[in-house]
Amino acid sequence: MALEVTEARPLGKPIKRKEDARLVRGQGRYLDDIALPGMLYLALVRSPYAHARIKRIDTSRAKALPGVHLVLTGEDLAAKNLAWMPTLAGDKQMVLAVGKVLFQYQEVAAVVAESRALAEDAANLVEVEYEPLPVVVDPFYALEPEAPILREDRDPPSNRIFHWEVGDREATEEALRRSAVVVKERIRMPRVHPAPLEPCGCIADYQRATGKLTWYVTSQAPHAHRTVLSLVSGLPEHKIHVISPDVGGGFGNKVPVFPGYVCAIVASIGLGRPVKWVETRTENLTSTNFARDYHMEVEIGATEDGRVTALKVFTIADHGAFDAAADPTRFPAGLFSIVTGSYDFPTAFAEVDGVYTNKAPGGVAYRCSFRVTEASFLIERAMNSLALRLNLDPAELRLRNFIPPEKFPYRSPLGWTYDSGDYAATLKRAMEIIDYPALRREQAERRARGELMGIGVSTFTEIVGAGPSHTFDILGIKMFDSCEIRVHPTGKVIARLGTRHQGQGHETTFAQVIAEELGLTTDDVIVEEGDTDTAPYGLGTYASRSTPTAGAAAAVAARRVRDKARKIAAHLLEVAEEDVDWDGQRFHPVGAPARSVGMAEVALAAYTNLPPGMEPGLEASVYYDPPNLTFPNGAYICVVDIDRGTGQVHVRRFVAVDDCGTVINPMVVEGQIHGGLTEGFAIAFLQEIAFDDTGNCLAPNFMEYLVPTAVETPRWETDRTVTPSPHHPIGAKGVGESPNVGSPAAFANAVIDALAPLGVTHLDIPLYPWKVWEVLRQHGITE
C-alpha cells in the first residue's frame, strides 16, 4: 500500500501528511525529548497565596543540597535588571516575585540542579515567609473605590488596565431608543485554558566561548521570541538561535514568553551549561496563560419584523495579575470588534475595560484570532435571545439579517472590510443536511410529551490572518509572514517559512501549495519551519494566520520561481518568453504541446545552462504583507436532548458547514474542524478555571479541568461551501480556529432552546449537568 501519495496537481487533494512518517513511529522530536550533554534542570518555587507580601526568602537549605547549582530569587534578578519582563500586550510581568506575589502559583524562586527530581527536592527546601494581603477575585469589585490596588508599580494606581472603545456610541444609543424591540443580556465567557497535550518548556544552551545562545523552546512564534529575547536580555540578536522543535499542540498557549524561560536562560548564561525547564501540567493550568474571562453586557435592537438596528456591548475583561495577552499592539481587546458578526447592523458600539485581579496572568488567544471567540459567542447568543423575544425561528432571524453576498466587500459599522462570504448559502446547506424543518417538527412533538430537545444554530464570521502592516504589529513588529523557496539542480525543493506549525500539517499543506505552483508533487518539496537561523523572519502560527500570510507568501514565492523558470524554459525551448505556455505542470511553446520542459529540466539549466546574462540559481524569498484579513464563516447546527433526571445534555447531532475559501487539503481541514469542535464542546460543557474567594485555583490539573474523552465527544458531521478570498493568492482563508470560535454558541443555544419553554433566555457556560438540573428543579420538572 502506498502511504506516500505522489500526485500531480496536489492542491485541493487529501494528501497524507508528510510529518506523520516520524510521528506515528514515536520519532517526533519534542522539546522534552532533547537531551544535551551536561544539561541541568530547573524547577520553580511557587506561591501558595494569591496576594501576599514576601517577608523573607531563605535559600540556604536548597543551596546546601548536593547537586544544586544555582538558586535564583527576584532580588537576584532585580540586580540584573531582569526581575520584570515586558508582555506581548505592552504590560510587564514579574519573572520572579519581588516584594509581593499577585496570584497563586506565581513564580517566586528558581532552582537549578543535576536532575529533574533533585531540582524539585531543592525547590521544596526554599523557605518563603508570606504575609497574606486582601485578595481581589471579582473583576467588578476590582474597579470599586474600596478595592485594594494590586499593581503598585502602575501610575496612576488603578486596577483598570485599559479602556478601549470602538464605534459610534451616540448613534447606537439613539438607534436603540428608536428600536421597536431591544433585548439585553449579560453573558459571561469563563476563564479557560488552551492546555495543549504537551506542556510548555525550553532548554537554554549558552556557549561562553562563542557567546551564542541556542534556545530550544515550545514556541508558536520563534522569530518574534528571538527579537523579544534580544531586547530583554541585551544579547545581540544574531547570537540567539531559537529552535522550536516538534510542538505538541499550541492553541495560543505557546505564544507568550514565560518566567520559566527567562530563568532557564539566566541560569544557562550564569552557569555556562544547558538548562532545561519543562512545566508540569499543574504549572501549565495555573500559571502559563489562560484565555477568555470576558464579562459582557449586550443590547441588541430590532424592528418588529426582525431587522437588526443596533448593537451595544460593554465588557469587563479579567486579565489577572498582569496583562499577558498576545494581542496586536493597537488592539488591547483583540479583534473583539468583529462582534457584529454575520449581520448587517446599521450601527454599533463596543467598549472593553481591562482589569487586574489576583489570578494568573494572560488573556491569550486560545484557538482564536484575538477575542474573536468571545465576540462570536456574544453575538450568536444575543441573536438567539432576540429570536426568542420576537418569537421568530433563530435560523429565520439570521436569514433576514445576513450581510447579502452583493454587499461584499462589506464595511462593518465597527470598521472591518469583510472580503467575501455567502452566509445564507452556508446556513441553508447546514439546514438541508440536518433537515431543519423535520427537526423542528420533532421538537414540537417531543415538547408536547414533556421531553427536552433543543436545536442550536450558530452562524459566525471569523476574522483571521493578522495582518496588514498598516494596522497590525506586535511590539512594533509588523505582522507579515514569509517564505523562501530554493529549487535544487535536480528539481527538488526546500521551502522555509516564518510560521511554526503545532499539528496543523504545514509540512504537507504548504508543500501542496508550492508543488501546485511549480508543477511538482508534494514529495518533491520539503517544508521547514521553526529554526530562526535558517527560516526567514515571520510572526508565527496562531490566530489562524498561517495560510492567509505564510501560505500566501509560499504561493507568491513559487510564482516568482516560476517566472524565472519561464525565462529559462524559453531558452531551452528556443522560443521567445512570450511564446511559452505553462499548462500547470510543464512549459511548452504556444501551440506545440508535444515539445515541453518541466521544472526538473529548468532547475538543472538554472545551474548548468543559463540564457546569457542571467543570474544562476532558482530561488525566491517573499515577505507577504496581506492587503486585508480573511473572513471565514460557518453555519453550525447542534441537536441536544436533556435528561430530566440528571440535567445531563446529550449532543445527538452536530452539523458543521464551514466556508474557508479555497481548500488546500480537505482531509487536514476536516481534522481541524473535528478538533476545534471538540474544544468548543469542552468549553461549553466541561471546563472552567475557577477560583475560590481567597484566589485558590480550583482547576489546577486534568482531574478538575476536564478534557473530553472519546466517550463524551460527539460525532461530528462536516461539510463546506467555498467562497474564495478575493485578495489571497490562492483564495484561501484560515480555518483552524473557526470550529472553536463558532461552536460554543451552537451548544449553548441548543441547551437554552430546549429550556426556552420554561422561560430560560440565558445560562452561562459551562453547562454542567448540575447547572441544568438546578433549572429543572426550580421549575419542578426533574424526574
Binding site: M1, G26, D32, D33, V247, G676, N701, T709, A710, V711
Partner: protein, 163 residues
C-alpha cells in the same frame, strides 16, 4: 537500584532511584522518547506502554515495579521496516495532528485489538477513554483503529503477530 527489563524485545538495565518512574526510565535512560508525559495526575495516557502485555500509564509505575518485566513501547510497533497496521491506520485516516498523544493511543489500541480483534465504535471509544487527545476530536482515531482491525482480520492475523 539496578533494574533489568526487556524493552521491545531487548534486555536492558539501568541504575535508578527508588522513586524513578517507568516513563522517565524509558525516556531519559533508554532514550526511547516516543513515550510522552502530558500530565501529573495519571489523566492523559500519553505515557501508555504495555507492561507484561497490559497497557499501563508509565508515569504512574515505578521503574522498580517493572524490574524483570517486559515492556513494549511505540518504538516496538514497527517490525522489519514494516509499519504496524495501526500506524498505517493513523497515517491513512489522519488520526493525528500534533502527534503528542499518538504513541499512547497506539499502545492502547494495540492492546485493545489483541483482546477484541473486531471492535465496534463504542468499544473503541471506551477503550481509548484513558487517552486524551487535544487535537483530533477522536473521530479519525476511531477510524484509524477500525482501519487496523480490518487490515489485521483481512490478513487473518492477530495484532502483534503481523510482520
Amino acid at each position: 537500584m539496578r533494574v533489568t527489563l526487556t524493552v521491545n524485545g531487548e534486555v536492558r538495565s539501568a541504575d535508578v532511584e527508588p522513586r524513578t518512574l517507568l516513563a522517565y526510565l524509558l525516556r531519559d535512560e533508554f532514550r526511547l522518547t516516543g513515550t510522552h508525559v502530558g500530565c501529573d495526575t495519571t489523566s492523559c495516557g500519553a505515557c501508555t506502554v504495555l507492561l507484561n502485555g497490559v497497557p499501563v500509564k508509565s508515569c504512574t509505575v515505578l521503574a522498580v515495579q517493572a524490574d524483570g518485566g517486559e515492556v513494549m513501547t511505540v518504538e516496538g510497533l514497527e517490525q522489519d521496516g514494516q509499519l504496524h497496521p495501526l500506524q498505517e491506520g493513523f497515517w491513512e485516516s489522519h488520526g493525528l495532528q500534533c502527534g503528542f498523544c499518538t504513541p499512547g493511543m497506539l499502545m492502547t489500541a494495540y492492546a485493545l485489538l489483541r483482546e477484541v480483534p473486531d471492535p465496534d465504535e463504542e468499544t473503541i471509544r471506551r477503550a481509548i477513554s484513558g487517552n486524551l487527545c487535544r487535537c483530533t476530536g477522536y473521530q479519525n482515531i476511531v477510524k484509524a483503529i477500525r482501519y487496523a482491525a480490518e487490515r489485521l482480520s483481512a490478513a487473518g492475523a492477530v495484532a502483534g503477530e503481523v510482520k
